[in-house]
Symmetry: C2
Subunit: 411 residues, 2 copies
């Protein structure tokens, strides 16, 4: 086995979250305190920046700079910059790997950390496989992140808890807003999750003694039926005039088409109208009942509203980053650092390495037993899984009324 | 002058905000501690509920119940319930006033407090004018609320500061989210304000040492031009690839039509497409530049995200409610309790009564000197006006990760 050196490099990739920088902080914190690791480099804009040698020297930036690291921990977005870059297969582009490994050699990299979602685990798998094949000793460890919570292996993904807390808190608040009038009305909140309904399911956490939260919750895991939805709304109206629906952006009809691409959603001239699930449902409910209907797309703040991050999520995201460094130093490669839930009273989590080739390019859906029989709400089992992940509030630093973030200097 | 009694009644009306219940708490707190006021009633769903004798006995509910009052202070939505009810003129419907005053007599009301926006000040004006005409001694005082900040007289409106803080904080966070890629892109945040751009202007507060905030800000106070906007975007791209635009929902073209109703916004068959300002602008920018464009409607959370309320706003909203009671006890009627800004170093506010007939049915726009010459950003004068209003964070009570609210029992 050839070893290029003891330096390390870390990159961020894919869509950002409110917790992806907490994982970066975990990697930085563990790497800086390890005597086995030399310089820690940060890729500007992921693997794409690395290939163009756009690198931060994180060891210089953060040594003796605890307060900036704390600020970075609660900064949304990918502070190093991100990219959407799917690595080619070795067979299709061997020169790509030669160039990549020439650079890893140039910077004497022995440890390679990549923070991201499914595509990033694919990168982790490919880089580690190539290194193994060529007999090069680089420990390649993936660090998961996604608000969608749809990565396999890990009990849940860093970033999900903070997004879930925003969704649940805002649904509780929207509920107070919709409850003010006596007239029958329907409010539809559209929540992120193209393939898996985890984040939409988290809206059920809005139900507390002081808020009903959503009355109806529809996930992409089950086919959506307008007729059933209309029946559900009528039933909910028996209790109160303001019905709140949480619907996943990825909800599909029985025939497999997204609500937004529903061919029956046409204008008066018969032309197909493309829009979000909530907008389409708003139109249908309005047509059916003739009542006041409003749709609210929760949109980007779901993944960047770090002012209401989950303390559990931020701590775990940081912990997963630290654990990834420890795992690499222990000799693991081609793995994803993940979270396991301890089988104990109350909630406690621990870390574990997962073989990345078994995780990449797979999707973890919400299991059937987390959804009620009617397919319009979350069961107690589902709530028990979700609730611990949004617990705790972070100590946000405000200046002039605005949360403060950490920004890397331009390179 | 005939006096019906020493009881008081308070109602909430119009669209809710994150601070309208803080004003209600102010009224409750002052009324309960005054020996001159007997029972304080709360109208369920405003004047509409009062006419149907749907009333809470707030004196019973909140005497010796300080903690519920504190919870109510930070609860979004109109906790008593709201209505949209424009009082008829006396000439057109004298029986309406006879019925209303019969009920005021039945409940021995001597003090009438109405918390709301422009329509509520109209209610305040009409009820006080009728009482004066009939020689009935009821002190009628309006308490302002609106996230739009477009009421005349008062320096700013209770509810605006909290909405402004949410807008600014979320724009700072969205900016971190959009900054992650290297590719040129445009993100458009649509902000509430049909007639006045105050809340959109507040997005400029996102600019701090750790965030650029929006690059471009367009208000309804000035006509919007696509050509100028395209030039502005190109110029902003000289600095960084991710351009963030804050646009008011009420922005209009030179010819006076709303962006969303622009007749040139047609599908490929020539049919008019109606949608929000940001959606229309998204399409236009995409067509012009062919780059990635995303629109984000900040939507209802702007007026209900009390988890990030401005402490200044909550305290002032509470203060205005208390002041309204004091003003009524001092003999004022037909007035709106409002806020004045002290002419001193730093920020300090005080209260004042404004003659409600001079306020109702008028709109306060953002003055020209708060907007830069080019019409695409806020001046230092504007920022100096806005900044104090979002300062300070509230101590939110969370349970199971969710902010706790106060809900009145059903009646």
């Amino acid at each position: 086995m050839v070893k290029y050196g003891n330096n390390a490099v870390v990159g961020q990739s894919g869509g950002p979250t409110a917790a992806i920088n907490a994982s970066l902080c975990g990697v930085i914190s563990a790497a800086l305190s390890s005597k086995k690791i030399g310089t820690l480099y940060g890729m500007a804009n992921g693997i794409d920046g690395f290939l163009n040698e756009k690198l931060y020297d994180l060891t210089s930036v953060f040594t003796d700079n605890e307060s900036d690291l704390e600020k970075l921990k609660l900064t949304p977005g990918a502070a190093l910059g991100s990219c959407r870059f799917k690595l080619p297969s070795e067979e299709s582009d061997p020169q790509f790997y030669e160039k990549l490994f020439d650079l890893l050699k140039k910077y004497e990299i022995g440890y390679f950390f990549y923070i991201g979602g499914n595509d990033s685990m694919d990168t982790t798998a490919k880089v580690s496989a190539y290194a193994a094949k060529m007999g090069i000793d680089i420990k390649v460890v993936g660090v998961p992140k996604t608000v969608d919570n749809d990565l396999c292996g890990t009990d849940h993904t860093p970033g999900f808890g903070s997004a879930a807390k925003f969704v649940a808190a805002v649904c509780a608040e929207i509920r107070r807003d919709t409850a003010v009038y006596k007239q029958k009305c329907v409010t539809i909140a559209e929540i992120m999750g193209r393939d898996a309904g985890w984040l939409t399911a988290a809206s059920a956490l809005a139900k507390t003694e002081s808020s009903d939260g959503p009355d109806l919750i529809y996930l992409p895991e089950l086919p959506f039926s307008y007729e059933q939805c209309f029946e559900d709304i009528e039933k909910a109206w028996n209790d109160h005039p303001d019905v709140l629906i949480a619907v996943s952006e990825g909800v599909k009809l029985e025939n497999g088409t997204y609500l937004g691409a529903d061919s029956s959603n046409v204008d008066k001239f018969g032309h197909a109208q493309l829009s979000g699930a909530a907008k389409v449902l708003e139109k249908k409910v309005k047509e059916h009942f003739g009542c006041k209907v409003r749709s609210i797309e929760l949109n980007t703040p779901q993944r960047c509203a770090s002012h209401i991050s989950s303390l559990t999520d931020i701590n775990e995201s940081f912990g997963v980053g630290r654990f990834a460094v420890g795992a690499a130093l222990d000799g693991n490669t081609g793995v994803m650092a993940g979270i396991v839930r301890c089988d104990c009273d109350g909630y406690r989590s621990d870390h574990k390495c997962f073989n990345v080739s078994e995780i990449a390019n797979k999707v973890k859906s919400v299991p059937r037993n987390y959804i009620n029989e009617r397919g319009n709400y979350i069961t107690d089992e589902g709530l028990a899984y979700l609730r611990p992940l949004i617990i705790g509030e972070c100590n946000i630093t405000y200046k002039d009324g605005i949360p403060q973030h950490y920004i890397f200097p331009k390179i």
